[in-house]
C-alpha cells in the first residue's frame, strides 16, 4: 500500500528495456547523437510546432533553468503560494537565477486566482527600481493539490501574463496526468493556450530520470546551451535520457501510464467517498488524493503498512480539518496495483 509519492516507483518496463537495448556501442556524447536528434524532432511533432527542447536530469533543474532563461536583474516570478517552486526546491530557482524572488499568489485548489495575479502585476512601475520587476509567471499543471487548469483557465491566466509582456511558464512535473484528464493534445494544453516555456516531466510517470525544458518561443532559448552546461545538467551519455524518452513516447506509453495512475486515484477517491472514516478534502482530478482522516485512525492505517504522508493545509484553504483530524496526501502511480487500493479501503472501513 504505497501512496507516499509517485517518486517511489521505479521505471516502467519498456523504459528499462530501452535503456538496456541502447547500452551497447559507441555514440557521440553531449546530445549530439542521432538518437538525441531524433528525439528533438519527435518533440516538435508531438507539440505540432517548431520548438527548442533541452533535456535535463531533475525537475528542480527543469524549473530552475527555464526561469534562468528569462531572468532579469531584480526579477521575480509570480507563482501559486503552494507551488512546488516555492515549497520544495530548497531555493534552487533563486540560486540558479542569482537571486530572483518567487512571489506567492493566492488562489483556491492550487490554481492562481486571475484577479490576484492581475492586481499584483499592476503594482509594478517599470521605472521604479526599488520593488524589482516581474520576469515570469509560473503555473503548475497538474497543480500541487491534484487539480488542473482547464483550457479556459489557462487562457485567462496567459492573457493577463502576456498583457504585461511576460512569459508564462508551466511546471509540468505531472503534465501527462493533467493531459489525459483533460483529454487535450499537448499543443492545446500549452502554446495554443498561451504557455511559452514548459517543464515536461517524465520521471514521476515511469522514467528513471528524464525531464525536458521546452521553449515554444525559440528566441527565449538562445543562451540555454550555455545555461544548461554551466548548471551541470549537460550529461555526457545523453542517450540514457533519449532512450528513456523514446520508449516513453512510443505507442503512447506515457498516456497509458498516466491514465492508469489517474484511474487508481479515482478508484481510491470513490472508495473514500463511500467510507464513513474519511472524507475527500476536495475532488481530485489527477493522481493525488487529499483526504481528511481522524489522526488516530490514520496512525493505525500507517501501522498496518499503508505509506502516505500528513500534508499541511494549503495556505488559501478554508477547509481546516476538524479537531483531532488531519489532512493526508495519497499519490498513485503508473505501477499502483488496484489490489493495494482495495486492501487499503478495506482497512479504512
Amino acid at each position: 500500500m504505497f501512496f507516499a509519492s509517485d517518486n517511489w516507483a521505479g521505471a516502467a518496463d519498456p523504459i528499462a528495456e530501452s535503456l538496456s537495448r541502447h547500452a551497447k556501442g559507441m555514440s557521440p556524447a553531449y546530445g549530439t547523437s542521432d538518437l538525441d536528434r531524433r528525439l528533438e524532432q519527435r518533440f516538435n511533432e508531438l507539440f505540432e510546432t517548431d520548438l527548442e527542447v533541452f533535456f535535463v536530469g531533475t525537475g528542480t533543474a527543469a524549473n530552475s533553468l527555464a526561469l534562468s532563461a528569462v531572468n532579469r536583474p531584480g526579477g521575480f516570478v509570480l507563482c501559486h503560494r503552494d507551488a512546488h517552486l516555492i515549497e520544495d526546491e530548497c531555493g534552487a530557482p533563486e540560486f540558479f537565477t542569482s537571486g530572483a524572488r518567487l512571489a506567492p499568489v493566492s488562489g483556491d485548489h492550487g490554481r492562481i486566482c486571475p484577479r490576484a495575479l492581475q492586481k499584483q502585476l499592476r503594482r509594478f512601475d517599470p521605472n521604479f527600481v526599488h520593488h524589482g520587476q516581474p520576469m515570469a509567471v509560473s503555473i503548475t499543471q497538474a497543480t500541487e493539490v491534484g487539480t488542473v487548469y482547464n483550457v479556459d483557465q489557462l487562457k485567462e491566466i496567459s492573457g493577463i501574463v502576456h498583457e504585461h509582456k511576460l512569459p508564462l511558464h508551466m511546471d509540468g512535473a505531472r503534465f501527462a496526468n493533467a493531459l489525459v484528464h483533460l483529454d487535450l493534445t499537448p499543443a492545446e494544453m500549452t502554446w495554443k493556450a498561451g504557455v511559452d516555456v514548459l517543464s515536461f516531466g517524465g520521471t514521476k510517470n515511469g522514467c528513471w530520470c528524464a525531464e525536458a525544458i521546452i521553449f515554444f518561443r525559440p528566441e527565449l532559448a538562445k543562451q540555454m546551451p550555455f545555461i544548461r552546461k554551466r548548471a551541470a545538467q549537460l550529461f555526457s551519455k545523453t542517450r540514457f535520457i533519449a532512450a528513456q524518452f523514446h520508449a516513453y513516447l512510443d505507442d503512447d506509453l506515457w498516456l497509458g501510464l498516466a491514465r492508469h495512475a489517474n484511474a487508481m486515484a479515482a478508484r481510491l477517491a470513490t472508495g473514500i467517498e463511500k467510507s464513513s472514516q474519511a472524507e475527500l478534502a476536495w475532488q481530485n482530478e489527477t493522481n493525488e488524493v487529499f483526504v481528511v482522516i481522524e489522526k488516530e485512525h490514520a496512525e493505525r492505517l500507517q501501522s498496518a503498512g499503508a505509506r502516505f504522508y500528513a500534508w499541511p493545509t494549503p495556505n488559501d484553504s478554508t477547509t481546516d480539518p476538524p479537531e483531532g483530524h488531519g489532512m493526508y496526501r495519497f499519490v498513485t502511480s503508473f505501477c499502483t496495483d488496484p489490489a493495494e487500493i482495495d486492501q487499503f479501503l478495506g482497512l479504512l472501513g
Copy 2:
C-alpha cells in the same frame, strides 16, 4: 575505430542489468532507501574510513559542488592550467561558487608543479583583501593528458596544501584508470596521501550516469545536503544511481573495466611507437594517448572511419608538433575492441 572519448561508450552489461533488476517495486525516494544506505556503507568500506558521500549526476556537478562545500568569499581554487575544471566546465565551478576563481598553476604533463604551487600560495597575505584568498587546491587523477600523480607526488602536493591550511580536492573522473595503473588501494591514493575531497567518477568507466562526491573530513560536508538539493542534483529516484554503483563495485567490476581501457591504450601506444607515421607526444599511463601525426595523414585516417580529435598543445608543453603536424588525442574505454586498435594501426602504417 572509436577513440573520440570514453563518453561515447554506453553502459557495461552488469550495470545495465542492475538497472533493469531494480526497475520494479516501490522504494523511498531522495536517497533514503536501503539500497542508497547500503551504498554509502560500501563506500566507507571501500575507502577504509568514515566518510561522507553524496551522489550526483555529472562530473561537472561533482567538481562544482565539492568546491562549493569549501567556498569562501573572494576565494579561488588553484589547479593545473589545463585542468578540466578550467577548460571544459563552461564556468560551472565559478557559477556554483558564486564567483570563485580558478587560478592556473603550471606543471609538466598535466601535473601541478609543487614549486609553482608553493610560490603562488606564499603570495597571499590573509589580511590583504584585494587579492582574494585561496580556498582549495584541485588536482586531476588521472590528469587531463593521460598521466598520473604517484603517491610521492600526491604527498608532496598535499603537504604544501595543508601547510597553508587548505583542503585538497581530487578530480577523479578517471579515478579507476589511475588506481589500476598505480596498483594502489582507494585509501592509499586518497586520504592516506592527503586528499580531503574526491570527485569519484563512474560515468567514463562504464556507468550511464553515476558520480560521487566523497569527503574524507566529514566536517567539510555539513552543508552538502542543502548544497546538493539547491544545485538540482538530488535525484528523486536515487536508486537508479545506487543500482549502477552497486554493480560497478560488485566483484571489482570497476577495476576490470579500467584495466581493459588502460590495456587498450597501451596496445595503441605500443603500435604507435613502432609506426613510422606517428609519434607519442609523451608516454601515457592510463587510457588517453596523445599522438603527433602529419595533418594530412590524420585526415586520411579520419576519412577511413577512425574517430579521434585534434587536441591543443598543453600550455606548458615544450613539444610543439613540427610544421605540418598536429597533436591528436585517442581515448580508449571499457568497451574498446582490440580489433579496432589493430585495424587502426594497420591504416596508420
Copy 3:
C-alpha cells in the same frame, strides 16, 4: 513642505564641516587610517562591548552584507512582510546571498508577531532539505511604519530566534529615531536585548552616506573583510565615511538630530489629530506619520506644494481607508522646519 522622505535632506552642518576639515592631506586608504581605527574604537565604546564594525555606503549594502555573513545554502531570512528588505531592495539581499529567500512573517504595526514567527520556525526539520533552512531573523527598528519594538518585545523575539539557534539581525536605518523615542542606550536596544547583527544607519539622520554593519558576536564577522571588498563596498578614501561618523557621534549630534525629526513628526501628528480633514492611520512613535486623507483633498495639498507619497496599506492592516480616501506617508527629518509643518496644517484645515 517636504515630507517625501528623510532621504531628501542633505547633510547636517557639522557633518559637512567635518568632511571639509578632513579633505586635505594624505592618509592610508581602505580603512587603515588612524581616523578609521579611532572610529572603530568609538563604536566599541558607544555599544559598551567588543564588537566588529564594517562601514559601507548604502543601507541596502548594510542589510545585504549582514545577511551574507550568516548565509547558508537554501537558507532564508524571516522578516516582517512589509519590511524594507522585502519591499524596497530590488532583490539585493537575495542577490548578495546568491539566492537566499526572504520569508514574510505577519504582525501588526510593522512588528513581527512572535507567535507567527514561532509557528514558522517550528515548521522546519533540519534534515528535510526540500524546504530549505532558516538562517536568520531580521527586524526593523524603527519599523517601516514609524513604530518601534520596545525592550520587552525585542527580548520576546530574540528569545524565539535564539531558541532556534539563529542570529537576530536588526535593520537600523532609523536606529537613532527609535533609540531616542525609547530613551535607551545603544547597548540596551541591541545586544542586551538579544540582537546579534545591526545595520546602523547614519544617512537618513543627517549624513551624506554613512552606514555601519555591527557584529555583536565577532565570530560571525570572520569573512566580512572579504565579503565587503567583493561586494564593492570597501571605499578607498574611507576617511570620507569616518569623518561623517565622527561628527555624527560628537557631542551626541545624532541623538539631537533624531529628537528633532521625531518632535517634528509629533507636531504633525498632533495637528492631524485636531484636523477634521485627516486622521492618523495609527499612532506614530518616530519620524514617520501615516495619515488617511480624502484623495481629492490630498491632491489639492500636493498641488499647493506639499510633498508626500501615497502609501500602500500594510498587508496585515485592518484599517483600510474608507471609499474615496487614501493612505499617505509623511516623513520628517533632522532639517524639517516647524514652520513647514504649521504651513501644511494650515492648508490641511
Copy 4:
C-alpha cells in the same frame, strides 16, 4: 613624501566646497534631482554623443557592474593579465556576474597584445559549450603600470573586439591622467576609438567617492537601473556624488588635477634618470613611476619617511630587477607637492 597611492589623497578644494554648498535643503533622492539630471546632460556634452551614465560609489562597482550589463552564461572577459580587474578586486567582477571568468591576455607594459587577443578569441566556437563564451574585452587606460594606449593602439584592439561582435570595456580609473597625456578629447579616447562601455573614475583624481559607468551604446544599458539598485550602488542622497562631479568638471578642474599629477610623476622620473641609485623600470606616461632600487637603499628611504610600495614584477616583464634590487611603485596625485619630490630625490642620491 607620500607616493603610496593616489587613494591616500583626500578631496580637491573645489570638490569639498561643492559638497558643503549642496548640503542644505531638500532634493529628490535616488538620482532624480535636477542636479543629477543636469550632470547626466553634462556627460552627454562632454563626450559629444548620446550616452547612458550611471553613478556608483567605487571603482570596483563601476567595473563589475559594467561587465554585469553585458554578462552571458559561461561568459568570460579577456583582460590584461596584470589588470586591476584580475589582481585587485577580490573576485568582485566574478561575483557580480555570478561566475564570469577573467581570462588573462599577455602584453608588454600593461597593454594587451593584439595578436595574443586575436589568437585567444579565434579559439572559441560559439556552438561548443564546454569552453564557455567570451562576453567582453576590458582594457585599462591608463594601464596598471603607468602607460597608456594611444589612439592607434585603441583602434587596433577595438577592431579585433568588434570583429568578434563583443563589446569593448575601458577601465578608466585613471582616465584623466591618460587623457591629458595623449591630449585627446574624451570622445576621441573612447567611442571614436571603439570603446563601448567606460568606467570613468573621479576618486583617484580628487573626488571623495565618485565613479560613473558610461554606455556609448545605450541599448547595452537597458537593465542597468535594476543592476545598480540590486548591487546596492544606488545611493539615496545622490546629490553627494553629483555635487562632486559638477565641481570636478567645472572649468576643467579634472584636467588640471590630472596634469599636475602627471607633471609630478615626470619630475620624479627625471630625477630618477639622473640618479645613480635608481633606475626607471620603464618610461612612465601618467602618474605612476616604477623604479628599480637596491633593496637596502629602498628600506633606508622608507625609514626616512618616504611612503611607497614594493611591487611585483609584471607577469610579462623581461626586466627582472638584478640581485639585491627590488621593483617599487611611486604614485603621484593631484595634491603632490613638488617639494616632496625634491626632498625624496635628495635622499635618493
